[in-house]
């Protein structure tokens, strides 16, 4: 069993700067939790408090039901992979991985089998006798993972391990981490600033900003039901289109009126609005770029817009448009849906018509920035 429980955890630095405010989280055994957020939001600090590398200013951290606030990192039965690998430069790869086992005074043959086993899983067997400086970035990261793996610890902590790799290698390592997770089957706490990593790797995502937790949920939950504006804009790439508009209530039906169009709120959301008896008024409307549609002629619920930038992404186009009221939208259009003529017409300054369906809208209060429904 390796559950981690953080209760009212707080971190205040010497100059009275509060890095983490009142962090509460229950991580179940064998769960893969990702802390994600922009730089400076407190995610690494929280991870380091769990690891024991930072003093905990307030609250408690429990690993397997035992309060570990005052325990040294080595007594907490954790393993950690660092952003900058932190391999011991004067030791070979074998000695790097064996270091912790030798400190535990294990017999050499046991160490040998453990290290070679881990090396085989990670595909670094041929590098065992090399020094870290003779390895590439991806290989070094695998050695760092191997060093953490052999400890058979209860909790696996990873502090932005893929940040220093190039994009292609990052995708490859991401898949390897997923496979590793299946093999190790232990509790993971993963810190990243990349929301793609968070969405693909995590069982649950913890989104943080300025030391506060914004939302905790599964990838599907934070994507489809963001509780506030920050989460809505942070998750999903390109980010959600946010536009100031009015929510109009006509009896049991709700409409939004962005830039001249009138679109009814349909589906589940319409029902929920009714349930919560949401009043009409100014709202921040959110629609994800992939839910936007491109039309080539005017319609009742289309908005007229001018194309500013056309990004060719391969299988789709990212169109940056702006409507008459100055609002900016990003629309993702699969290239396969367009004819050659239509594609050619999408030049800078072209007139386009954009719209979206009634069931894809998100509504946020303009002052509190909270989601009106969730």
């Amino acid at each position: 069993m390796a559950s981690v429980k953080l209760t009212n955890v707080k971190k205040v630095y010497d100059n009275n700067v509060v890095a983490v405010h009142d962090f509460n989280l229950d991580i179940k055994d064998k769960e893969f939790v990702v802390f994600v957020g922009p730089s400076g939001c407190g995610k690494s600090t929280t991870l380091r408090m769990v690891a024991g590398l930072e003093e905990i200013s307030g609250g408690t951290v429990e690993i397997d039901g035992e309060v570990v606030n005052d325990l040294q990192p080595k007594d907490r039965n954790i393993a950690m992979v660092f952003q900058n690998y932190a391999l011991y430069p004067h030791m070979s790869v074998y000695d790097n991985i064996a270091f912790s086992l030798r400190l535990q005074k294990m017999p050499e043959d046991v160490i040998y089998s453990k290290v070679t086993n881990a090396a085989e899983i990670l595909g670094i067997t041929e590098y065992l006798m090399r020094k870290p400086r003779a390895l590439s970035g991806g290989q070094r990261q695998r050695v760092a993972i191997g060093r953490a793996m052999v400890r058979d610890s209860k909790v696996f902590l990873m502090d932005e391990p893929l940040s220093n790799l190039d994009a292609k290698l990052r995708n490859q390592m991401r898949a390897e981490i997923i496979l590793l997770r299946q093999k190790l089957n232990t509790t993971f706490i993963y810190v990243t600033h990349d929301q793609t990593e968070a969405m693909t790797l995590g069982d649950r995502i913890v989104i943080m900003k300025d030391g506060f937790i914004q939302q905790v949920g599964t990838p599907a939950e934070v994507f489809e039901m963001p509780t506030n504006l920050f989460v809505a804009e942070f998750i999903g790439a390109p980010k959600m289109n946010i536009v100031k508009t009015d929510l109009v209530r006509e009896g049991n039906r709700y409409f939004v009126t962005p830039c001249g169009a009138k679109i009814e709120v349909t589906g589940e959301k319409g029902g929920l609005l009714n349930e919560k008896n949401v009043k009409g008024g100014p709202v921040l409307l959110g629609v994800r770029p992939e839910h936007m549609k491109l039309a080539f002629e005017r319609g009742e619920n289309t908005m007229s817009a001018r194309l500013e930038v056309n990004e060719m992404m391969g299988s789709e186009l990212h169109l940056h448009v702006y409507t008459k009221d100055g609002a900016r939208w990003i629309v993702r259009v699969p290239t396969i849906d367009l004819t050659q003529e239509q594609r050619r017409s999408l030049v800078n300054g072209a007139q386009v018509y954009i719209t979206f369906e009634g069931k894809v809208m998100h509504f946020f209060d303009p002052e509190t920035e909270k989601n009106l429904i969730y």
Partner: protein, 376 residues
């Protein structure tokens, strides 16, 4: 001269060359008299000191010149064809000039040691002379022929010198061991830990280090005498005093430890190492050059300490260190005329352990560590 920036360097070079030429002339004049003038104030020691300073001066000048010439060599636009053809003429000239200067500097720096070694083998006359191999006045006077032999060394080891040597050796070894441990622990702590008094402590030690050690000499002697560690028991007293202030020498080591990433410490601590194990197994192997440096400086200190050692040991010859003992032989004119060459022999014997230590440990300086094992 294409660049105005070269002007200061060239002026300094010209001055340096003129002064050095003058010094060399005076030096050679000793052995091959080309010009006679009053030698009353120009003893061998004065010449050696002058040459030492000149050598230093010339070294600085050579550095400046090398830099400016190198810059000139690089200002020429590099053509790929010319690159394949080898160094450009300017770079070749600058290399030659630099090597010539370096050879001259080496000669100047090694000359005093050469003189001391030669004089240590001179059996007759035993006093301080102004010539090395041949007395220019030998033709005028009879019985002034120079003889070389090992007599000085024999006399050296027959007297009290071995005792002094042993004293100094023990002090140096103990001080080297203890001081290294203290300095390294101190530097590691100041580098890795953050505590409230850290900055005030470092500033305090920096300022305290600016006061000359001589200020405390009298009171230290009084305290040592009262405790019974002066005079005949001076050795433990000296060790205590040398070791006591060693924590203040943290600066260089701390700077070195600051360059080792903290994430290595953290990784080791998570792997199960205590702080002491982190220092011993991870940090020190990476800091081999600075450890060697600390050991060497700590070892070399006691060999040359004259003032404090003489003050504390007083008139008990068994407790003297080599510096005090050797100085005794030069304390009166009769002593100088009898013991000068023995003094030189003593100097050579004192230099031997330090030279051996340096030659053995030099390769550790060349190790390049850390390279690439940690990103950024």
């Amino acid at each position: 001269m294409k660049n105005k920036n070269q002007l200061p360097a060239l002026i300094l070079l010209v001055i340096g060359l003129v002064v050095t030429a003058g010094g060399l002339f005076l030096f050679i004049n000793r052995f091959v008299p080309m010009w006679s003038f009053s030698h009353k104030y120009m003893t061998d020691n004065a010449i050696f000191a002058m040459l030492g300073i000149l050598g230093l001066f010339l070294g600085i000048v050579a550095l400046l010149l090398a830099r400016s010439l190198r810059k000139q060599g690089q200002e020429v636009p590099s053509d790929t064809l010319k690159q394949h053809m080898g160094l450009k003429a300017t770079a070749r000239i600058s290399n030659t000039v630099i090597y010539v200067l370096l050879v001259i500097i080496s000669v100047i720096w090694l000359a005093p040691f050469f003189c001391i070694v030669v004089q240590s083998f001179r059996v007759n006359p035993t006093g301080m002379t102004r010539y090395l191999f041949q007395n220019p006045d030998a033709a005028l006077k009879e019985g002034l022929t120079i003889r070389f032999g090992l007599d000085n060394y024999r006399r050296l080891f027959a007297g009290d010198f071995p005792r002094w040597y042993l004293n100094t050796f023990i002090i140096a070894v103990v001080v080297a061991a203890v001081q290294t441990i203290i300095v390294l622990c101190m530097s590691y702590t100041l580098s890795r830990f953050r505590f409230k008094l850290r900055k005030p402590l470092m500033q305090f030690m920096l300022i305290l280090g600016m006061f000359p050690g001589m200020l405390t000499m009298i009171i230290l002697y009084q305290v040592l005498k009262d405790v019974g560690l002066a005079g005949a028991n001076a050795m433990p007293g000296l060790i205590l005093v040398y070791v006591a202030s060693s924590g203040m020498g943290y600066y260089v080591s701390k700077g070195f430890f600051d360059t080792i990433p903290k994430s290595l410490d953290e990784a080791a601590r998570i792997d199960g190492a205590t702080r002491a194990q982190v220092l011993y197994k991870i940090i020190l192997p990476l800091a081999k050059p600075i450890v060697i440096y600390t050991v060497l400086t700590a070892f070399m200190g006691p060999w040359g300490d004259f003032v404090f050692a003489k003050y504390v040991t007083g008139v008990t010859p068994e407790a003297w260190n080599v510096a005090v003992g050797l100085q005794q032989w030069l304390s009166t004119t009769t002593n100088i005329s009898e013991n000068y060459t023995m003094f030189c022999a003593g100097g050579v014997v004192v230099a031997i352990p330090v030279v051996i230590l340096f030659m053995c440990l030099q390769k550790y300086y060349v190790e390049g560590v850390t390279g690439g094992a940690v990103k950024g």
